[in-house]
């Protein structure tokens, strides 16, 4: 899935997979931080967001 989405032009930083066991809170926090940083480095998601029709 990740490969196909990236293939069609989504930035690699937009989809993440990880494994964290229930005891690995430190790892959990590290993963959250890492992902948040990566995502902050990207612009906000426009390419895949479906814009809501504007109602005048």
């Amino acid at each position: 899935m990740k490969n196909l989405l990236e293939h069609t032009g989504i930035e690699p930083g937009r989809l993440h997979f990880s494994w964290v066991s229930s005891a690995e809170s430190t790892k959990f926090v590290e993963v959250v931080k890492k992902i948040t940083e990566e995502v902050k480095a990207l612009n906000s998601n426009k390419a895949y967001a479906k814009t809501k029709p504007k109602v005048d």
Partner: protein, 1085 residues
Amino acid sequence: MITFKLNGKTVQGEEGQYILQVAEKYGVDIPTLCNHKALEPAGMCRVCTVEVFDGRRTRFVTSCNYPIWEGMEVNTETELVREGRKLIVELLLARCPEVPAIQKLAKKYGITEIRFHKEADTCILCGLCTRVCEKMGARAISLTGRGVDMKVDTPYHLNTDACFGCGACASLCPTGHITLEKINREFTTRTLQLIPSEYDMGLRGRKPIYVPYAQAVPNIPAIDRDVCMHFKAGGCQICKEFCGVNAIDHSMQDEFIELEVGAIVLAPGFKPYDPSRLDFYGYHRLPNVVTSMQYERILSASGPFGGHLVRPSDHKEPKKIAWFQCVGSRDQNRCKNSYCSSVCCMYAIKEAVISKEHAGKDLDCAIFFMDMRTPGKEFEKFYNDARDRHGVRFIRSRVHTVDPAPDGHSLAIRYVMENGETVSEIFDMIVLSIGLETPPEMIELAGRLGVELTPGNFCRTDAFHPVNTSKEGVFVCGAFQGPKDIPQSVIDASAAAAAAQELLAGARGTMARTKEVVPEINIAGERPRIGVFVCKCGTNIAGVVDVPAVRDYAAGLPYVEYAADNLYTCSQDTQETMTQIIREKNLNRVVVAACTPKTHEPLFQETLINAGLNKYLFEMTNIRNQDSWVHKNNPRLATDKAKDLVRMAVAKVALMEPLKEIELPVNHTTMVIGGGISGMAAAKSFALQGFETHLVEKSDRLGGQALNLYHTATGEGVQEKLCEMIKSVESDKKIHLHLNTTITAVEGFVGNFKTTLSSNGNQEVLEHGAVILATGAAPYVPDEYAYGKDPRILTSLELDKKFIANDPMICNLKSAIFIQCVGSREPQRPYCSRVCCTHSIENALELKKRNPDMNIYILYRDIRTYGEKEYLYKQAREKGVIFIRYSVDNKPRLEIRKEGLAVTVTDHVLGRPIEILTDLVTLATAVVPYKDEALANFFKVSMNDDGFFIEKHAKLGPSEFSTDGVYLCGMAHYPKPIDESIAQAKAAVSRAVTLLSKASIFSSGTIAQVDPTKCAGCGVCVAICPFSAPSIIDKGRFAGKAEINPVLCKGCGLCEASCRSGAIHLKGFDTDQIFSQIFELNAAM
């Protein structure tokens, strides 16, 4: 309630509060150095000075101890206040120019130079230390002297035993003037030390009030009376003041509770060996010599270093780590533990491999060992992988010297290689693979209970009753029965439970109480009426998240009829209020925004049930563990997040449907397949617990491989006991024997199997609720070592038969050779057969007993006499049995000659081939599983590459399959001796009885269901489900479509995610429900 103005804004506080407290509540920052919320304020540092206007004039007061009054006007940041504070800080800085906390304040107030005489003090005489010391009840220190001589000191400037070294003064000191060193040096006569955390093996400290570890059950803090200052000095009780629910009662006393029970199970476990008794390893003296238990904590993500692999002395990442095996095991000279601790080889390999995974391939891991003992299931493969794939070094040597290296951190060791060469090597860290021993308290308790112990101080049991102690009604499991690993302990535990149940089966269910059922309200057709309960959790949530704002936000969401906040939503009285509100407001869906559903969902579901709602009309969202607790410095975003989460939960709950938990009756008849020791033991245990049992055996007699065995490892005669066992099975009215019988078809599932038996062409269909596979294994028939070409070449079992038959041939022998690992630990059969080392040594001793002058040689690769079987190994060496190690690439060669059998083996010490002429060669052949694929398919269970059945969980579910209702024991699981087989047989029964003791089973509500009109019948769900729940319907209207057995479904959703047609619905986590959460990710714009 007092109302006044703070910086122009109207604020409120309680009568008796001080300005600073109210300011804090309203987020107005006032600096302070001498204030602490646990202590009465003293106005010592003056930094918190503010301006108070009483209507006529302004005054400067210290806000920490100035009580509020109606109508006052307080300003905290006027020019005058700032100027005044600046001067105070400058004076403090002059006194203590090097104190960071004051430097920071000085910077804040723009102080660049000090106009006063500078001193080199670090104490600002704020009195926090002396006030807290008084509060603790110790009163060891006070402010002494006057004027410029005033200082914090003990009476007469003498170290005093009034100071308990609790460290409260140091932890409150704002300047760092009081340190733990200072307390040790100047205050106390006692030795001050951190309270070592038991869980972290002393690698870090813990508090007097503590939860042993994050997953502790119950997860409730306890006060350690031995270190709590209240119990030592009578004061403190700060915890009591701060506990919002008044849960702390220091006057609680130990209670003695007397229970009347029918059986006792001893499961006290073991104590890790304390290696400080072995001085030459330098444990305690050298900080980078750690025990394996400490090393486990170092590796752990929740450990003292957060899972980063660093050494204790300087927190640097090690490049080289050594493991020393057999520390406190297999050692009679330096400690009294001559047994093998069974688990250390495997855990050392595991630690080495994990270390390499953590730190990368370049980390050098070396394991120093005597024999590498990996006789457990899949262990040998792990050992091989560690060596060949991960590059862990295995060095067969005992290290004799450990010295600190010149850098003061690393460790220089010297050891002798097998060829006699002495090697010096420097390691960054040494891990001592410490053994297991029975704690002295347990030895004492055993004495009181009248339970006999073995020479190694483990509980004495016999092979045919592996969990029975010498005292009737008292059972044992785990490492107290003998050193063992997790799977074996879990097996024992279940077995002990079964043994107790055999005794107490008649009393089953007699003490159970039934609960009153509240009738469920039918909500079909109703539009959602949602109640949202937002929890403050005291200040746990409300301290960060703006709970009223979240509540008001929730009230405005679609379908929400009611929204409230609660101080503690989980408290008993709130539960009752919730029940009432649900009834009064006719709510039909409930959202609780609080802590984690993992602990509290069942509680709230119970409340729903009590209010007459289906418990699945509920959604919980986590605004504590996953919000307020982790974003405490970002209240605004935390509140936004809470709103998002509540909105997502409301959207989901609106789509929740009442779910039924399907009830299915359980057939209480059981079936055991395999009539060996394991199968018979299982059938007997079932029968003793009152269950009708069908015992199916493919051959014409009971007994299995045990029919060929002479002695157990503890010297008990097998045949006699086996006969008794067979008789007792045959005569049991509840056991229905099916000899010469095979299984030809199986239908059904947990609780309701239908199995077709075939015997001499006759078919019979039996219905049963559970089944145990105890199909055993067979001996390997070797084609090596000229087996079958000479009557003097036997397998171990053939030798046993000769013992049983008392064959005169064996008494006339002059010499005998045993060759180990025949067919085991080889590329085509990589596992270790576990039983053969002990078996050969036992037989060697038997030969010696019959003819003490006989020359006996055992040719081995590693001797694996785990646990107390090690005594046999020792005894054999004492009796003169010669052990010669060979390597797998240079196996012994055998030549049949007229004068005898010539065996050539390369001796590991001499490094040269030697030839031994002998009269008898015994081949310790592998244990080979039957690989019965048909049977595996019948019960939808799987086999590993070697052909042994794969259990549900290698550690925690060794005696059951992932397919519900199917259990496993004996050698079909893995090669094992009689005691372990019987233990596992009882364990399998015990697991089965957890099912069979119920009249019916309920499926979970959150299971998958197929919509046949959408199903394409492609069968992906059937292929992908790990629990064999889906199947394709073969007849009727929906033939060719899939259906899911609700009882087998575990609700994981794998099938739903893989269903391209969208035909599968996972109730409770259905696609539309998850979509609704996704759709609510961003608030409607």
